[in-house]
């Protein structure tokens, strides 16, 4: 058996490693995706007041601190059995929409666009954000930076700091929004809407108008028939901040719809001896292995799964794009992994529109910022949609609100099995006997991984930044017979 190692994965995870095992005939036999995971979260939380966790958990991950802050804040609400005031919920959601705008812009332009705008098999030295700027122009690059900065400014305005967020307290928020601040946010949100529409136009021009790319999306080795998970509102529309978790099967039929505090009835986690990361699966389906299909317990929690699991978007422009995507790709549900990029841009537009809705809501400048706490704290679960999947925080406290136990299922963890399967499928489709394993082929294997926008809790801890890709081909005895590397 030959072994191909992609280590580390470019542009995404300094410590991640993909091991591809080849059969003697040169075909791919298996693929293993491995990442380290932070340890000791439960112990780290134990003994701390539950209301402190919303501030502490932002420090786990520098990439999505707002998601952890939001899930933690909602879990603390649940621990205290308190429903935040209407104004507080809207301020939280406004903050969260800015967080989504920032993150989705970053993923599309810095991580996804190089594969499409520059080209999946373009030289690695050009296949990066600089290559994108060279193709689309400096003005657009400047606008990307500007919109990201504005999204950060809104988060800092509402959350006290863009990373060290101090917005949520049980039952509400620490700070309200003045009319002057609201007007400023409204103008900024209008800019988000225009930029989101523009980003979708780029996707149209560069990807959808390119027959080769459309063919890769629809017919390349990038499809998995998985169940889809996503948070929905009372009308089954996509919601990032609140609602119930809905799971639809591979045919798009509703399997489950559950409240956050019921999650343990529906999701179970398993461990594999070769991975530090757990593998959540649908408990009622059971673990059937790394297989897709209707009987499998594997699901995904991604921008595409959120759209699959919903009956639509709650804002008009995003709804129109939602309909266009499904019309173009042959109806719901879509199982093409690379369509996650399109779904992510639809979510970007939804976030922008929703931010504008909230910024023009008369209640957003209300002063009723916190509901009183009158119950004894005990146990609570908070679930939000992180950019990378459904994020669950679960705390158990004593009657003084001191944390006794904590559990997290982070966005990317939901997709661990799906990512492994996508990589295997891509590798099997691209690495064949007699086909030279080029840098371009390796990148196309990685594209299966990148579509998930995976983020591991150790993303704040990373080396090396240039992430050279090294591929070792070994014979069945483990002897190195060839090396492909890029710098």
């Amino acid at each position: 058996m030959k072994q191909v190692t992609i280590d580390p994965i470019t542009r995404l995870e300094g410590h991640g490693k993909i091991e591809i095992f080849l059969k003697d005939d040169g075909e791919v036999e298996n693929v293993y995706f491995q990442v380290p995971e932070l340890r000791g979260f439960e112990k780290f939380c134990e003994g701390r007041p539950v209301e402190e966790l919303a501030q502490i958990v932002t420090k786990i991950c520098g990439v999505c601190p707002g998601c952890h802050h939001m899930a933690s804040g909602k879990a603390a609400d649940a621990v205290y059995g308190v429903e935040p005031t209407s104004t507080a919920k809207k301020i939280r959601e406004l903050f969260y929409m800015a967080h989504f705008v920032h993150s989705h812009i970053a993923h599309f332009y810095a991580l996804a666009a190089p594969d499409f705008v520059v080209g999946p098999t373009a030289p690695a030295a050009e296949r990066n954000v600089l290559g994108v700027i060279n193709k689309v122009g400096v003005d657009i690059g400047t606008e990307v930076i500007k919109q990201r900065r504005i999204a950060q400014e809104i988060q800092a305005l509402l959350g006290g700091h863009q990373t060290h967020v101090v917005l949520n307290i049980p039952g509400g928020v620490r700070k309200g929004l003045t009319e002057e601040e609201r007007k400023d946010v409204e103008e900024k949100a209008k800019g988000f809407v225009e930029f989101s529409k523009f980003s979708l136009k780029i996707f149209d021009d560069v990807v959808l108008n390119n027959k080769e790319y459309v063919d890769i999306i629809l017919n390349g080795p990038y499809a998995l028939t998985l169940h889809s998970m996503g948070l929905v509102d009372d009308n089954n529309k996509v919601n990032f901040y609140d609602g119930k978790v809905r799971v639809v099967d591979t045919n798009g039929e509703e399997l489950y719809k559950y409240a956050p505090n019921e999650y343990t009835e529906f999701v179970e986690e398993r461990v594999e001896p070769w991975s530090y990361l757990k593998f959540p699966f649908l408990k009622k389906k059971g673990w059937k292995g790394f297989v897709d299909g209707q009987d499998s317990g594997v699901y995904h929690a991604t921008p595409l799964s959120r759209l699959n699991a919903s009956d639509g978007m709650a804002t008009p422009l995003a709804q129109a794009e939602y309909e266009r995507m499904y019309d173009t790709l042959g109806g719901k549900p879509v199982h093409a992994t690379l369509a996650m990029h399109w779904a992510r841009l639809i979510e970007l537009l939804y976030s922008a529109e929703r931010a504008l809705e909230l910024a023009t809501d008369p209640e957003i400048t209300g002063t009723d910022l916190r509901a009183p706490l009158d119950k004894t704290p005990s146990e609570g679960v908070g679930i939000v949609e992180a950019q990378r999947g459904t994020l669950t925080h679960h705390y158990v406290t004593d009657d003084k609100g001191i944390v006794q136990k904590a559990n997290l299922i982070v966005g990317t963890t939901n997709n661990n099995a799906a990512i492994c399967m996508s990589l295997k499928k891509a590798a099997q489709g691209l690495i064949k006997k007699g086909v030279e394993v080029t840098d371009g082929i390796l990148n196309m294997v990685e594209m299966a991984f990148r579509a998930y926008d995976p983020c591991f809790s150790c993303a704040t801890h990373h080396r090396p930044g240039e992430m050279p890709l090294i591929l070792n081909i070994r014979d069945k005895d483990g002897n190195l017979i060839d090396t492909v590397s890029r710098k």
Binding site: K59, G62, V138, T142, Q152, A459, T460, H461
Partner: protein, 166 residues
């Protein structure tokens, strides 16, 4: 922003990941010592494009981070410029762009990037266990590390002053 600022000392790290919080603590202690004339201090968790807004307009940028080269013992202080830059633990973002790419993007887009950029990185042994305290090895060396970092900063400030700024 047109105002030209002088020196930015930028600490970067993760305060709940043990020794990976070292640069943040160093930044705080340097700021409190007030021993670097004309310096501003900031802290970040991650590099990537977000760094551009922090550093724009400064004449001199000195980044403090941790590193894991395995070439020296924990506590060793490395100093480098962008010309001989080797990746550190947090200055590049896996979810964004590497540090040098961020600088290139900034230059291309017209950001006023500091003319003098130095990186000081302290060798550590990363441990992915969450915790707010330094390892005993680093804690025991802390005063020496702080002193060595301070000396390097003074050296870099001196070099910067002798140059014509961009």
């Amino acid at each position: 922003m047109n105002e030209e600022k002088n020196i930015l000392i930028l600490g970067i790290g993760n305060e709940v990941l043990g020794d990976e919080s070292l640069a943040l603590r160093l930044t705080v202690d340097l700021q409190q010592s007030d021993s670097i004339n004309g310096a501003d201090y900031q802290q970040l968790y991650l590099g990537g494009l977000s760094i551009l807004e922090c550093i724009e307009g400064y004449k001199t940028l000195i980044v403090l981070d941790t590193t894991h080269t395995q070439e020296e013992k924990p506590g060793h202080v490395f100093g480098m410029s962008v010309n001989n830059f080797k990746e550190t633990l947090h200055l590049s973002s896996t979810h964004d762009v590497p540090f040098l790419t961020a600088l290139e993007v900034g230059t291309k887009l017209g950001f006023r990037i500091p003319g003098n950029i130095f990186v000081i990185a302290v060798e550590i042994e990363p441990d992915l266990t969450l915790g707010t305290s330094l390892s005993s090895n680093i804690e025991n060396q802390y005063d020496t590390i702080l002193s060595n970092v301070h000396k390097l900063i003074q050296q870099y400030v001196s070099i910067s002053k002798s140059r014509t700024f961009k």
